[in-house]
Every structure is written in structure tokens, then in C-alpha cells.
């Protein structure tokens, strides 16, 4: 089990390109996050959870990030928590049959004004 956790963590670090050890725990990422109240784990926690190898918990809860890049822009150390959560999401949706959004769900979600941009970006974020 320990080995699997280590493998997952290494994969997240490689895919994201993030150096979690640069984090100085200032919390500016979570202070900037517009989704903070909606999340089980917050941006500053993404960073130390990955550093600790606690990736499996994040794999179960990662769909509240808006990818607005506020945490990336405002981090004084260039750590980019949003890139970590993106890498974690990808590890989930790249598993066979694990798409978070499936094409047959789309018709029920449409309304007459919904821009194509919303559907295209949701597929990029939630599916492979």
C-alpha cells in the first residue's frame, strides 16, 4: 500500500510539474480561493497533502476547483496548487471508466443560452 501511495504521489508531482517543497505555508492560496467554502480540502492543504503522500484522499474530492488561477497568480513562491489538483483529477479520469462527466448526461444539462465553451471546458476538466 505504501508503495502504491508513493507511486501516485510521484505521478502527481511529475504530471503537475509542481515543487511542493517550495511552499512556506503562508495560506495566501486558500485566502484567494473563491471556492474555499465549498471544498473538503483547501488549496494550501493540496500542497502539504501531496508533500505528505496523502494523494488518495484528494482523488476522492477535487471537483470544486474553478481553475481560475487566483492561487497560482498570488502564490509568493510559485507553487501553483491548481496544477496539483489538475494532476490529481487527471489521475482519476484517466482510469478506465472513471469519467466524471459522460456525454449522455449532457442533454439534460443544456439550456438555450448555455455557451459551447461551458460544455467543451467541462469535458476537458471532467473526462478523457
Amino acid at each position: 500500500m505504501q508503495t502504491l501511495k508513493k507511486k501516485l504521489t510521484e505521478q502527481v508531482l511529475r504530471t503537475s510539474g509542481v515543487n511542493v517543497r517550495k511552499c512556506m505555508r503562508c495560506g495566501k492560496c486558500s485566502g484567494s480561493c473563491p471556492s474555499y467554502d465549498e471544498m473538503d480540502y483547501h488549496p494550501h492543504q493540496f500542497v502539504y497533502m501531496v508533500e505528505r503522500g496523502d494523494v488518495d484522499a484528494l482523488m476522492k474530492s477535487n471537483y470544486r476547483c474553478l481553475s481560475c488561477m487566483a492561487c497560482v497568480e498570488r502564490c509568493p513562491r510559485g507553487v501553483a496548487p491548481a496544477k496539483l489538483i489538475e494532476a490529481i483529477r487527471l489521475m482519476v479520469v484517466r482510469q478506465q471508466g472513471q469519467n466524471h462527466l459522460k456525454a449522455d448526461q449532457i442533454p439534460a444539462l443544456l439550456d438555450k443560452d448555455l455557451p459551447q465553451q461551458a460544455i467543451v471546458s467541462a469535458f476537458r476538466k471532467y473526462s478523457k
Binding site: R14, E73, L109, Q117
Partner: protein, 270 residues
């Protein structure tokens, strides 16, 4: 001046106003926008992972097509601009990504980010000039209190986008001044509306969008302008309580240039 132009998927469908008024206004300003001959959807969000290659190909094809035409590439939708400019940055600076993409596309001449990607607002500021634009205004929006909504994708990450100061931008406010309006500065103008999460969690997006609308109104806004179809949708959908009009900046531009009626006629014909 001639530029290549990348409209993107939504500008051909739900955001026709953003596109139509931009093209009409460009003509008045002496700008020729040549739509790329065979563009593909950019994917609407920049693929951040280091090992994403295929999802960047459509942007690279657009960039290479502009390079072949010998033109700078104009974008208009915030999402397209963000994706294409960030992918171009990868082609310039990420040897692994650029190497894999060039290997796959196998072009006669490798592409390494030579094309300049310019947002329509940057074209107005840097190529036309806001001072020249101001001289072409025939219906100045005098006394109109207009709030610019940047959202997230025009400005961030600033190290790549390089449009403006990400925390205290002025480009849209200066645009509003150039067309005679009165820009409203408000704290939530560069905070996210909720973006694509609208598809699965209306409540979360509602909270964010209402904060933006309320912040603009508290500071005296009579209307909000944006460059992003998804921002327009999210703000519009959560506008029941505030009822502040949210429109594309290009519609205001066309109004100030005195050609908006023509756009409405074209729309009626379509």
C-alpha cells in the same frame, strides 16, 4: 492593418454578438480581420498537465496557420485567448512539449511560438491606439457608468498573458474612457464567476456570480461588460435580483462607433 483572426466555437453560435460587433468595428477602424481558414476549437481551458500533448494541437495548428499567413493572430473570446497564448508559451519555452508536438505534426519548418497572439482589446490599445479610437467615436457613451468584468482568463497567469497588471488592470477601463463612458472600479472585477462548474453545480457558480454583480452595483455600475461568453452566461443567469445588464464590450464599441444598428439588422437577417 491585416491580422489573422481566431473566432472560436462559441462566437459562431451562442456568442455571435461578441464576434459580429468586433468584425464591424474593426472595419471602421481600418483593421482587416482574416479568419483562419480551417481553425479547430481550442478546448476552452488550458491543459495544465505537463504530459498533455493532444489537447494542445488545435491551438498549435491555429498558431502555425497564422504564421503561414505572415500575420499576428487576433483572439477575442477570453478562453480562446488564454488557451492559445499559453500553448504558444509552451511552444516557446517547454522543450519537451514543443518537441513532442513538432514530432507529431512534422511540419516543414518546426514551430516554436513565433506567432504573436494579441487579444482584440490589446489590438485596440497597442495597434489602433485608444487615442485614435476616441477620435473615431461618433456616439460617445457620456455619463454611462460601465463596469469592466475581467474574470480570470484574460489576466492570469500574468507572467504568460502579459496583458495588464493582474490585480489592478486598466485596459478595459481605458477602453471605456476612449468610447466616452465612465468606468466603474470594483473589487470583484478580476474574481472568477464560477466558470465551467456551472454545468454541475449551479449553486456554487451562483454564489460567485452574485458577488461580482453586487460588487459592481455597490460601486455604481449601470452595466457590466465582458469578453467571455461563459462569464456573460453565468452573470446573466444569476442576475434575477440585481438586473444589471451584462453585454459584450464589442457591442459598446459598435454603439460608440455608430454602427450598432447595422449589426442588429444583420442579426435579423441571420
Amino acid at each position: 492593418m491585416i491580422f489573422s483572426y481566431y473566432p472560436g466555437c462559441t462566437l459562431k453560435t451562442k456568442a455571435k454578438d461578441l464576434d459580429r460587433y468586433a468584425r464591424m468595428s474593426a472595419q471602421v477602424l481600418g483593421i482587416t480581420l482574416e479568419e483562419l481558414p480551417a481553425w479547430q476549437c481550442c478546448g476552452a481551458v488550458y491543459p495544465m498537465a505537463k504530459d498533455e500533448i493532444v489537447t494542445k494541437l488545435s491551438s498549435v495548428r491555429a498558431l502555425m496557420s497564422a504564421k503561414e499567413q505572415g500575420n499576428d493572430l487576433i483572439t477575442l473570446c477570453s478562453a480562446c485567448h488564454n488557451v492559445i497564448k499559453q500553448v504558444n508559451n509552451d511552444m516557446q519555452n517547454d522543450r519537451d512539449i514543443a518537441g513532442k508536438i513538432n514530432n507529431y505534426l512534422n511540419p516543414d519548418v518546426e514551430y516554436h511560438g513565433e506567432t504573436n497572439v494579441i487579444h482584440y482589446l490589446e489590438m485596440l490599445r497597442d495597434k489602433v491606439g485608444f487615442d485614435v479610437l476616441a477620435q473615431k467615436v461618433v456616439h460617445p457613451l457620456t455619463g454611462r457608468k460601465i463596469a469592466a468584468y475581467y474574470g480570470c482568463m484574460l489576466l492570469r497567469p500574468a507572467s504568460v498573458m502579459q496583458m495588464d497588471n493582474p490585480e489592478n488592470p486598466v485596459i478595459m477601463e481605458n477602453f471605456i474612457r476612449a468610447i466616452g463612458g465612465d468606468p466603474v472600479i470594483y473589487p470583484y472585477r478580476n474574481e472568477c464567476c464560477g466558470g465551467y462548474v456551472t454545468l454541475e453545480d449551479n449553486a456554487l457558480v451562483g454564489k460567485n456570480s452574485v458577488k461580482v454583480l453586487a460588487s459592481a452595483l455597490e460601486n455604481g455600475a449601470e452595466m457590466i461588460v465582458t469578453a467571455c461568453p461563459l462569464c456573460l452566461y453565468n452573470l446573466g443567469k444569476n442576475n434575477a435580483q440585481h438586473k444589471v445588464p451584462v453585454i459584450y464590450f464589442t457591442e459598446l464599441l459598435a454603439e460608440a462607433l455608430g454602427i450598432k444598428d447595422r449589426g442588429e439588422e444583420e442579426n435579423a437577417d441571420a
